[in-house]
């Protein structure tokens, strides 16, 4: 009986790995299909005005762009603005969110103001920010923060408010002081929610950073694509778009992996509860 169980376990692990490999393979085939689809569109002649750039031209543009071309520096500028803005968002958003989540008064006091500021589409504030802060990477960072702090803040608040009150009671029974409760129970308890908010914030941040670059002309992928299109270099413009997409995709995957790693246990216990 025991030998079959052991055999079963190692067999199942091998089988699980091969099924994961199969999933990756299927996805790769699908991606290839996407590339083929693009080629078909190009060949069909639907895109006019030099916009029908075949796949290999886009690919070679990416390669040259990154080996010392303008694409690399544009990419780095965007990433820098994105990362800085996101870091500020996370710090600001989670601390504010936790505070609001813990204090009913803070929640009530800020509720109305937040409800009015939040719906303003962040890109509408680009000109406003330019007036006060000029042009440059500061603009992008500020805009990223203005746009992306909300999901982090609200998710932090939601996370704090939805912590199982029994956990807090039990830790108080164990003699933990208020600050310790926050550090040991509330922060880890709200973490899954905060991470979800960070994921949303990360994708909003990319959109806003790129939009700001387009509108203002600060260095970055948005400005790069605009420039390439105006210089009638469509292959390079497409290259910028693909790079932007890949960046967003990688960020999405990476944060997803982080979420699963750090928060796996939380999700499991929540599932049991629900």
């Amino acid at each position: 009986m025991t030998s079959t169980v052991q055999g079963g376990v190692s067999a199942s692990r091998g089988a699980a790995e091969s099924s994961r490999a199969a999933t990756v393979l299927k996805g790769a085939v699908g991606a290839l299909g996407l590339v083929l689809l693009w080629q078909l569109i190009v060949e069909s002649g639907v895109l006019k005005g030099g916009l029908d750039v075949p796949v290999w031209e886009i690919a070679s543009s990416i390669v040259t762009g990154f080996s010392g071309g303008e694409l690399a520096s544009a990419f780095l500028s965007t990433v820098q603005a994105w990362a800085t803005g996101l870091a500020i968002c996370v710090l600001l958003g989670s601390s504010a969110g936790i505070m609001i989540g813990l204090s009913r008064w803070a929640d009530a006091a800020t509720r109305i103001v937040v409800d009015f500021v939040r719906p303003i589409p962040s890109v509408a504030l680009v000109p406003v920010v330019v007036v006060f802060f000029g042009i440059g990477i500061k603009v992008q960072v500020i805009l990223v923060v203005l746009a992306s702090v909300w999901p982090v803040l609200f998710n932090a608040r939601y996370g704090v408010q939805n912590i199982d009150p029994r956990w807090i009671e039990e830790s108080q029974l164990m003699g933990l002081g208020r600050l310790a409760v926050i550090r040991r129970v509330i922060l880890p308890g709200a973490l899954p929610s905060i991470l979800t908010g960070v994921r949303t914030a990360a994708s909003i941040a990319i959109i806003v950073a790129v939009a700001a670059e387009l509108i203002v002309g600060s260095p970055g992928l948005g400005y790069f694509v605009n420039l390439m299109q105006q210089a009638v270099r469509p292959a390079d413009a497409y290259a910028g778009i693909v790079v932007a997409g890949m960046f967003g995709y990688v960020v999405h995957l990476g944060l997803g992996w982080l979420e699963r790693r750090i928060v796996g246990w939380q999700l499991a216990s929540t599932e049991g509860r629900l």
Binding site: G8, A11, S12, R13, A15, A16, S18, S19
Partner: protein, 264 residues
């Protein structure tokens, strides 16, 4: 409450399974044989329970019997005709009422769901009758989640009855409610069975419940499951929660079935 003769094996077979087998693939690539070689018959007007150790594939069996899942091998016949897909005249009551009642529909709308194709008046009449059978005639406008667990399960039963079936399949229908509610639901089920002359096949892990309710109890083995024993229950009807369960024959049946399961 009419007197029902024990074991109404009046010859006519409502439902039968012969050599049914079902296995399904698991996430890691291996296959599990849930049902091995299952053969039994349900006669018209009978109340038969199926018991077995947990994980013996009872639920898989029920899904095959109800036509939701095709079996790998063997034959399933309903009223003499082979089953392929969902069968009219056969209704199923599932265990988790909160996963089988539609939360966006009211109680009345839920019960009326199988009657979509009927004209309005007929459907209304049947819904009322079904709810009356289960003792819930006054809640058709409420939503399932506004009711207690026991009431929700009764709504499930009402929905199964609305299509006026001849045969009822029940998959551990009382496992999700507390003990007292379970007793009243068991008696309610017997009442409905007698009044409507249904043939009932009930799957349960509760041996006492199986003995209390049935004319016959079939015992399944561990996976891959087969029928390893059949006990005819010769207890007088109508049954009573307190008296019938206290009878010495009841205890004897329980011992027998326990042993059968333990030795499997």
């Amino acid at each position: 409450m009419s007197d029902k003769q024990p074991g109404s094996m009046s010859g006519a077979v409502a439902f039968e399974a012969r050599g049914v087998a079902k296995s399904y693939p698991r996430k890691d690539g291996s296959t599990t044989q849930a049902v091995g070689d299952l053969t039994f018959a349900l006669h018209k007007g009978e109340f038969v329970s199926i018991v077995g150790p947990s994980g013996c594939g009872k639920t898989t069996l029920l899904r095959c019997l109800s036509g939701l899942m095709p079996a790998d091998a063997g034959e399933i016949r309903y009223a003499g005709k082979p089953v392929s897909g969902v069968v009219a005249g056969l209704s199923v009551v599932f265990q988790e009422y909160n996963r089988s009642l539609f939360p966006w529909l009211s109680v009345g709308q839920n019960v009326a769901f199988p009657l979509r194709k009927l004209p309005r008046e007929e459907s209304h009449r049947r819904v009322y009758e079904a709810l009356l059978q289960v003792g819930l005639a006054d809640v058709p406008a409420q939503y399932p989640w506004q009711l207690s667990g026991g009431m929700q399960q009764r709504v499930s039963i009402a929905r199964a009855l609305a299509s006026q079936p001849d045969c009822l399949l029940m998959d551990e229908p009382f496992a999700s409610v507390d003990a007292q509610t379970r007793e009243s639901l068991e008696d309610k089920t017997l009442e409905i069975w007698a009044k409507l002359s249904l043939s009932v096949l009930l799957v349960t892990h509760d041996i006492d419940e199986a003995i209390y309710l049935s004319d016959r109890v079939l015992v399944l083995s561990r996976r891959p499951s087969r029928v390893i024993g059949e006990v005819t229950i010769d207890l007088p009807r109508p049954r009573s929660q307190v008296e019938t369960r206290a009878m010495s024959t009841f205890q004897a049946y329980r011992r027998d079935i326990h042993e059968l399961i333990r030795d499997s």
